[in-house]
């Protein structure tokens, strides 16, 4: 047992989910995370378990490396897998059960990975299995989102792959000992930024996550970005650049969330915002910073999962996730309202719930390093978070002003298992918020933080109250309209077509003209025909490719020259 990789039970569950009948599949869904947990426990207790190695294509691969930083992420992922499985227990879809278990398994594998090769292996598996979860038979748009998701992650994966090759050529490096000036570092940074969805690499997330089934989106919300946060903490702790990127992401995510009409897209933008917080902590590089980032990542897996569960339940009931079509659900679904508000208050930093603890730790870590500006930016972003999730979304979904005619009816009953999953997640959020001492014990470094000082409690309550006053006086600005807002994905969804018709086609036509004149001229000259043949074989549609290749070569040359 103590040499069994903890991802294996989850992969086995994935395969079983494809063949077993519904009842047995449910049993497997609820037991597999326990098996994975036992494997982790066994490994931590046995000194032999830590050396899981094998040779692949002549490279030694270290599959497992366990330390405190990895452990807290692994535990959080396994617990979340169980909660997500409970939430999805009623689902008859074999594909969802398969993809969710395999996605969870690859995430666990990635967090436990002992070197770059194994990290890369699981990283790519995560991309593949998560893509399956985006596919939603009920939404015709989901296929396009899936393909764009796959394309973006393919590019991110290529960066990672180049970095791995480079590192191997240089004789290999352990995860936390990447040379400061190595080009591999920059490639890895790009790959991690894609998966952590930090602007401008983020557009795949709000594009894809709102498309999945209610259950699929819950799973999607938990793994990819948090594993990327773990990877940052492992390889890039103390990189100053992360603080700026993180603060930008926090504001960017919150501003887009404030515009958004689709509930799940709104929450997706808040993933970007919250990952920004975590990056700030990692960028500090201090023990308290890493602690805060880990605590916030774990907290986020729980409360963001809870929020996706609650909005998923609304989608399940009403068939829509658009705020402009919802309203008045508070009277029909009091329990759901309560659970949703618990998640919303947790992410907003309400004392007594886990978000308050991790945000407080982060603010303290920032203050210790005198990053006052960043501290204020994050506080303002917290106000925006409460505004959009705690007030705007709750108001329009549960009270709301949508006219009776437009309002989605809401007749489909919400299964008991969905409620059970949400109640348990809420309980965990409250337990970590009220009794943080147990939680502190799981963090990678000793904790030096007193959560329940009267000033910090008052400060947090004031922040929420101030936001509430803004909400109360905002009036017309609050109106939600059925519309979408452009984001970076415009460039590859519309911009590429625009470039093709406005730039490439005229260029191609111009090229054809030049070509025919050339041909005529050369034929007149009766010269050697070889250049003509070359010229004719050249396809004008290759222009974009040529641009990219030339650009890539240029960057490489500049880079090499600069070294």
């Amino acid at each position: 047992m103590n040499n069994l990789h903890p991802a294996l039970p989850l992969f086995a569950a994935a395969l079983l989910a494809l063949v077993l009948p519904h009842r047995l599949r449910q049993l497997v869904q609820l037991t597999a995370p326990f098996a994975a947990f036992l494997c982790v426990r066994a490994m931590t207790e046995s000194p032999h378990g830590l050396g899981l190695q094998s040779m692949v294509l002549g490279f030694p691969i270290r599959w497992v490396h366990i330390d405190a930083l990895g452990l807290i992420f692994v535990y959080a992922l396994i617990v979340f897998t169980w909660l997500g499985n409970l939430y999805a227990l009623h689902s008859k879809s074999r594909l969802t059960a398969f993809a969710a278990a395999a996605y969870a398994g690859s995430s666990v594998g990635a967090v436990l990975a002992g070197d770059f090769l194994s990290l890369f292996f699981f990283w790519e598996l995560m991309a593949v299995f998560s893509a399956i979860l985006i596919w939603n038979p009920a939404r015709s748009r989901s296929l396009g989102a899936l393909l764009r998701y796959a394309a973006v992650h393919l590019i991110g994966g290529l960066f990672f792959f180049s970095a791995v090759i480079f590192i191997q050529l240089q004789g290999g490096a352990s995860l936390s000992e990447l040379a400061e000036d190595s080009p591999a570092r920059w490639m890895l940074l790009a790959a991690f930024l894609v998966n952590a969805a930090i602007p401008p690499f983020h557009a795949w997330l709000p594009d894809a996550y709102p498309e999945g089934t209610p259950e699929g989106s819950v799973f999607l919300s938990g793994y990819t970005t948090k594993v990327a946060v773990y990877a940052f903490a492992r390889c890039f702790a103390g990189s100053d650049i992360l603080i700026g990127l993180g603060a930008t992401a926090a504001v960017y995510g919150v501003v887009y969330a404030l515009m958004e009409n689709d509930m799940r897209k709104l929450l997706a933008y808040h993933i970007i915002c919250q990952v920004g917080y975590m990056l700030c902590g990692i960028g500090l590089g201090t023990e308290q910073g890493i602690n805060a980032a880990s605590a916030h990542a774990v907290g986020n897996i729980l409360f963001k999962g809870l929020l996706f569960m609650a909005t998923g339940a609304i989608l399940h009931r009403c068939g829509t996730a658009k705020l402009s079509d919802l309203g008045g659900l508070g009277k029909q679904m009091r329990l759901l309202l309560g659970l949703y508000l618990a998640g919303a208050l947790a992410i907003s930093g309400m004392p007594g719930l886990n978000g308050y603890i991790s945000k407080g730790m982060l603010l303290q870590a920032l203050a210790q390093q005198h990053e006052t500006l960043i501290e204020w930016v994050l506080l303002a972003a917290a106000a925006g978070t409460f505004f959009s999730i705690g007030l705007k979304l709750a108001y329009f979904a549960f009270w709301g002003t949508a006219s009776e005619k437009k309002k989605a009816p809401g007749t489909e009953p919400v299964p008991v298992n969905m409620y059970a999953a949400m109640i348990l997640t809420t309980a965990l959020c409250a337990a970590a918020g009220l009794f943080p001492d147990f939680f502190y014990g799981l963090l990678p470094f000793p904790v030096d933080f007193d959560a329940f000082q009267i000033n910090s409690i008052l400060g947090s309550l004031q922040l929420l109250a101030g936001t509430g006053v803004t909400f109360a006086v905002a009036g017309k600005l609050l109106k939600v309209k059925p519309e979408l807002n452009l984001d970076i994905d415009w460039f590859y969804r519309k911009g590429a077509g625009w470039i093709l018709t406005r730039v490439c086609r005229p260029l191609g036509e111009f090229h054809m003209q030049v070509q025919s004149r050339w041909t005529a001229m050369i034929e007149e000259m009766n010269g050697v025909l070889d250049p003509v043949r070359f010229w004719k074989a050249f396809n004008p549609m290759e222009f974009p490719l040529l641009f990219f290749t030339a650009g890539f070569l240029l960057v490489t040359v500049i880079f090499l020259a600069g070294r």
């Binding site: 303002a380 106000a383 109360a472």
Partner: protein, 72 residues
């Protein structure tokens, strides 16, 4: 409860929070540096207002499109 009453209650609660912060202790907050009482209230109010204004400005003038924009 009508809107005016709600705002009154909210305002009262905020005032009490700020007042209690002034009375109880305002030496140091958890992050270690002194802050004037009510700082967090101001931050919450103006932070949310600024971000909302920014979002609405961007959306209204530049980013907003019909829902089927990408379906053509």
């Amino acid at each position: 409860m009508n809107a005016k009453k709600k705002i009154f209650v909210l305002g009262l609660a905020s005032a009490l929070l700020v007042l209690s912060e002034t009375v109880i202790a305002w030496h140091k907050n958890h992050s270690g540096h002194a802050m004037l009482p009510g700082t967090h209230f101001i931050l919450g109010f103006f932070g949310a207002a600024l971000l909302l204004a920014l979002a609405k400005l961007l959306s209204h003038n530049f980013l907003s499109r019909p829902e089927d924009y990408y379906d053509e």
